[in-house]
Amino acid sequence: MKQLLILLCLICFDGKADLNLKVNQGHAKPLPIAIIEFEGKTAEEKKIARQMTQIIKNDLKSTGLFDIISKSSFVQQSVDFDMTPRFSDWRLIKANALVNGRIKMMEDNKISTGFRLWDVYSSQAMTHSAFKTDKKYWRRTAHLVADAIYKRITGEQGYFDTRIVYVSETGSQLKRKRRLAIMDQDSANHKFLTNGENTVITPRFSPTMQTITYMTYENKIPKVFTLDLETGIQKLVGQFPGLTYAPRFSPDGKSVILSQAFEGSSSLYLMNLETKRVRRLTKGRFIDTSPCYSPDGSKITFNSDRSGRKQLYIMDADGQRIKRISFGSGIYATPVWSPRGDLIAFNKMEGGKFYIGVMKADGSDERLISSGYMVEGPTWAPNGRTIMFWRQGKSFDDGRQEKAELVVIDITGRNERVLKTPKEASDPAWSPPLPLTLK
């Protein structure tokens, strides 16, 4: 009976297989996107609409993932916000996506901003949204619209509504003035946070709130401070017997992990910012420094000379199970865990040259994405797609040195660009996305 069933199955089986084509090649070019100037009826609405459209274009273009189609190529010059676009017209100019929007002035000096994102090729609406804000926040609203477009198309969280804190540098190498400064990710709204009286280094953002931790040389003694950007309140992080440096927040923002040098060695310490309790994480006569948590808080990456040369390590959050992850030639430093957890950015020195690289958290797939005479201090955009670092050129015998600047690069190594700053800049730190309630 069983044999008969098998036979029947074999006989009844239709051997005809449908055509199945496999495509495993493609190209990675910026996505052509058309952004129509947002609608506005009054002169003021039109002015804001024009400025917002420009910011949205700049944000998307800066990623290197979008190719903004010039207005002069548009066949359909405007699309009514309440109507469906003529997709055939947009297909003609090879626009993959289309954005249109509308600005409306409301009562109490508020504006309403609505936008729609269309998939031109499949003639479908991809997303739409509306924001109601105070008129003075039109710039942030534009960043939020750009974030929404970016998120819908790439699947990643946008990072346009974020800020950068960095060290602004002025003066000669001998009389260098280092001040803490902050600006939007597109260099707008720049302001200084310290007056330059005391040298400031290694600012780092709290992952959960708009607070930064940094190190300053107060009376030539290095100390770690926190600064609340909303209130401006500055707090000293504990009193340690030795020199403390390289502070960084834990993912919950409640603790700071740092390195403390004492009697010729450096160990990692964790300090609870509420209880001020300090816990030592590493021991031994090694130099352990640059600690950084994984986004889930379960692991810590750091660099150490415990193998004889500076290499990267990871360990459990309680300091147990230390494991070396870098095995390449040269010296590795400042590991920074990506906010999405998949990669670790690092600094590498080899053959008299500095590199910025990324590797998987287990140390595999090491890739060097930028190099220079001196490139340092990688920091991740909140979506883990883009890295910022600072670069400085050669120094000359007469004391001059090439300008220090902030550089942004995609993790693929593409789209390297310099971020505009009023003065020379170093040691950047990227903020998490700003809360919508932030003023």
Binding site: Q3, L7, N20, V23, N24, G26, A28, S122, G155, R414
Partner: protein, 276 residues
């Protein structure tokens, strides 16, 4: 005397030379430079090689095609010649037995016959033997029923000739390797992969494509809808693949017009793993 001998000798030698000149001794012949025979090499495209017989038939003039079909039918009608019929039957039987009935045919039937013969020759010793024989007989009856069922099914199936005809018909409509390659290359040029996306290597997108007869895409449907809703990174890759199907450079798709039945619906799998 000596002189005359010398003259004779000289004359003989001269004569020999003249004879040799006319005879053409092999070593004196000039080597003929006949080139080796030219082997013609015909350069053909792979689609010509992969074209099935039916396609070639289709390329024939209509009259010729009709003639061939008529001829096939005539052959079928001619089959009932007794000797030929018997031969065909045997051949057919053997082929089918080899393929489908191999485990049953070879062992059971002859054994049954031998047993029967033995039983005819030897007297039955006891009831147990009879029962055993009965059981065997029942088992054999099961196999016979299986065989009968299969033979009935076989009757319902087209005969070998028909099967072959169907197969060749089926193969003929298939897209050739070069046609598939051309299509693949065209779509590859239209696929803008979202570089740097998370876990890109694990994103395999399957799209069901419904085509219009003019080789334009009527509809490209992403198969894994659930993943589209739950994984924004998958959605990004899937949408990039779908966009490729509608891209102006892929409209129309490079598909052979005569094989619409073969490509009117197809599935395309986009796999960025090998790109990384």
């Amino acid at each position: 005397m000596k002189d005359s001998r010398a003259y004779i000798f000289s004359a003989v030698l001269h004569l020999l030379v003249v004879v040799l000149f006319f005879v053409n001794l092999p070593f004196m012949r000039s080597m003929s430079l006949t080139p080796p025979p030219i082997v013609p090499i015909e350069i053909v495209t792979i689609d010509q090689l992969t074209q099935s017989p039916l396609k070639k038939q289709r390329q024939l003039p209509k009259a010729a095609r009709t003639k061939k079909i008529v001829h096939t039918r005539t052959r079928k009608e001619q089959i009932p010649t007794p000797a030929l019929k018997q031969e065909v039957k045997n051949v057919t039987k053997n082929v089918i037995e080899k393929v489908a009935l191999k485990p049953i045919k070879a062992k059971k039937k002859p054994v049954k016959t031998e047993q029967k013969q033995e039983s005819d020759l030897k007297p039955k010793e006891n009831n147990q033997e009879i029962n055993e024989e009965k059981n065997k007989k029942e088992k054999n009856d099961d196999f016979t029923s299986v065989l009968r069922a299969v033979q009935e099914l076989r009757k319902e199936q087209p005969d070998e000739g028909q099967e072959k005809a169907f197969k060749s018909d089926h193969i003929s409509d298939k897209l050739t390797i070069s046609e598939l390659d051309a299509l693949r290359q065209q779509i590859q040029k239209c696929w803008n992969i979202p570089a740097g996306a998370r876990n890109l290597e694990d994103m395999i997108v399957e799209i069901d494509v419904i085509m219009n007869e003019d080789s334009t895409v009527e509809e490209a449907r992403i198969k894994n809808k659930a993943l589209m809703l739950s994984d924004s990174f998958f959605r990004t890759v899937a949408e990039s693949a779908r966009r490729a199907m509608y891209a102006p450079d892929c409209t129309p798709l490079k598909l052979p017009t005569g094989k619409y039945e073969e490509w009117k619906n197809f599935t395309i799998t986009f796999n960025p793993k090998e790109i990384l």
